[in-house]
């Protein structure tokens, strides 16, 4: 029996096509994935992301625990409400999961992790917490989560919080505010401005309906994937996993590695750097006709690689992909599609952001 979010009936009412996603019954689209993609790039749409796992970390050792657990350094978070993207590594430097951590108060952090990795992540979080005397972990299955994204998403969301408008307006990018029962973060996974909002389960459907009335359109996980790919954002389990390090996954920028802080996986990362990183994650755009897909073989002058995420970019009108290929390769590569070699070009990511192509 698959799990259902509080918005299940709302999805059906909006003619959603439902699919299984990591054990959850989730909307893949509500008619047209491309239309939903365009809504987010030009107006405002919302995703039910209640399948994601929210964990609150509290206690006198919570800061020290997260500095041990995460490859990025939460000491960078100076103000309450600030957010940080980080990988959580195993001892070999492979990625257990990627996550966002919010600094919400003295000795209080909120971590949002993926749904497909929930069980192993929670086991890992608990195991590492055993080494600290005062760390409390609370899984927040009492909340639902909606991501409202797009150039008009902020304004449309603000219209639902008139009495706290100025407070919400002052929330900067990668910051969050708590307003009553609502936790409102200016984060997302689309390359557009907007909010990710946590709310109590019993208020979820009412809030969804208010957003609908404000002109925010429901968008499915299909559009979410093409949006994040255009924005050059990694997807856990396809672009990186426990067998790949952030260094060969385009995530070197998320590592805080140069000071004397110890964290899980750091010695493996330092050894990898010492030996020389062998692979890189790059963006490619297909020049020939066709569609790039996950796991297709990429042939370069320095050896073979593989597409980790490939799809069609509605904003560019072309196929785009993230690919893991040997370091040092630039310019053109070949991709093998159904026994034919197609030409593709390495480009700087993101492919598209804030409504526009970056290519």
């Amino acid at each position: 029996m698959s799990k259902k979010t509080p918005f299940y009936q709302s999805h059906l009412d909006a003619s959603a096509k439902m699919v299984d996603f990591a054990g959850w019954d989730m909307p893949i689209h509500y008619g047209s994935q491309i239309t939903e993609h365009d809504i987010i790039r030009t107006d405002a749409g919302m995703f039910d992301v209640s399948h994601m796992t929210v964990v609150d970390v509290s206690g006198a050792d919570s800061g020290a625990y997260l500095r041990h657990l995460l490859a990025n350094d939460i000491a960078k978070l100076k103000q309450h409400g600030k957010a940080l993207y980080s990988c959580m590594l195993n001892t070999e430097g492979g990625v257990v999961d990627d996550l966002i951590v919010y600094f919400l108060g003295d000795q209080f952090y909120r971590v949002i992790i993926n749904s497909a990795t929930r069980d192993k992540d929670l086991a890992w979080l608990k195991r590492q917490a055993d080494d600290f005397s005062d760390v409390g972990l609370t899984v927040r299955d009492d909340v639902a989560m909606i991501a409202v994204q797009g150039p008009t998403a902020r304004e449309k969301t603000l219209s639902l919080f008139e009495s706290n408008r100025s407070e919400l307006e002052s929330v900067g990018r990668f910051e969050a505010a708590t307003i009553g029962d609502y936790f409102i973060a200016r984060t997302g996974y689309t390359g557009e401005d907007g909010f990710e909002i946590l709310m109590p389960l019993d208020q979820a459907v009412g809030f969804w309906q208010q957003l609908l009335k404000a002109g925010v359109k429901p968008c499915g996980l299909g559009a979410r994937d093409t949006l994040r790919l255009e924005a050059g954002m990694s997807l856990y389990g396809t672009d990186m996993d426990e067998s790949t390090s952030p260094l060969c996954s385009g995530l070197g920028w998320t590592l805080s590695i140069s000071d004397d802080r110890h964290f899980i996986g750091k010695s493996a990362l330092l050894a990898e750097k010492e030996q020389g990183v062998k692979q890189q994650l790059v963006g490619i755009v297909l020049k020939d006709k066709g569609v790039l897909r996950n796991h297709l073989k990429v042939v370069t002058v320095k050896g073979e690689g593989e597409i980790t995420s490939g799809s069609y970019s509605p904003t560019l009108g072309k196929s785009i992909a993230l690919a893991r290929i040997p370091v040092g390769v630039t310019g053109e590569v070949d991709v093998e599609v159904r026994n034919k070699m197609l030409k593709a070009e390495i480009v700087k990511i993101p492919f598209a952001r804030n409504g526009k192509s970056c290519i």
């Binding site: 047209s32 994935q33 491309i34 239309t35 066709g290 569609v291 897909r293 069609y312 196929s319």
Partner: protein
């Protein structure tokens, strides 16, 4: 519920075929385009090539996946719908009209007779839906 025109023949793999004299026009069903979602690329057979019944002769790709389509009959490809190259969404918008894929000169009419009629195909997709 998908549209299944009564005058067409079908395969359980969701191709349709219509007959005009000795020429068959082939495409994919409304149910198939619904399952696939927004189409973004179509790879058609070459005009003048010969296809054999059951061959993978065309590939249609939606945002999420590539799907093979099969030749329902054998024969020479006499025309392809080249408009699909720039407008694959015609298959979504009008699968039995502007979204046709290719035309084949019929070698053996019994192959057409062996295909599913509309009511048999409608039963198959009713089970899927």
């Amino acid at each position: 519920m998908s549209n299944v025109p009564s005058e067409l023949k079908f395969l359980s793999s969701h191709e349709w075929l219509s007959v005009d004299g000795d020429i068959a026009t082939i495409g994919v069903s409304d149910h198939a385009q619904e399952l696939l979602g927004d189409l973004v690329f179509v790879e058609l057979p070459e005009e003048g090539s010969t296809v054999l019944i059951g061959d993978t002769v065309a590939v249609i790709e939606s945002v999420k996946a590539a799907s093979d389509t099969y030749a329902p009959i054998s024969g020479e490809v006499v025309e392809v719908n080249s408009e699909l190259e720039d407008s694959p969404e015609k298959i979504n918008d009008d699968p039995y009209g502007d979204g046709w894929m290719y035309k084949v000169k019929i070698d053996d009419p019994s192959e057409v007779a062996d295909m599913l009629d509309a009511s048999a195909y409608a039963e198959i997709i009713a089970e899927e839906e």
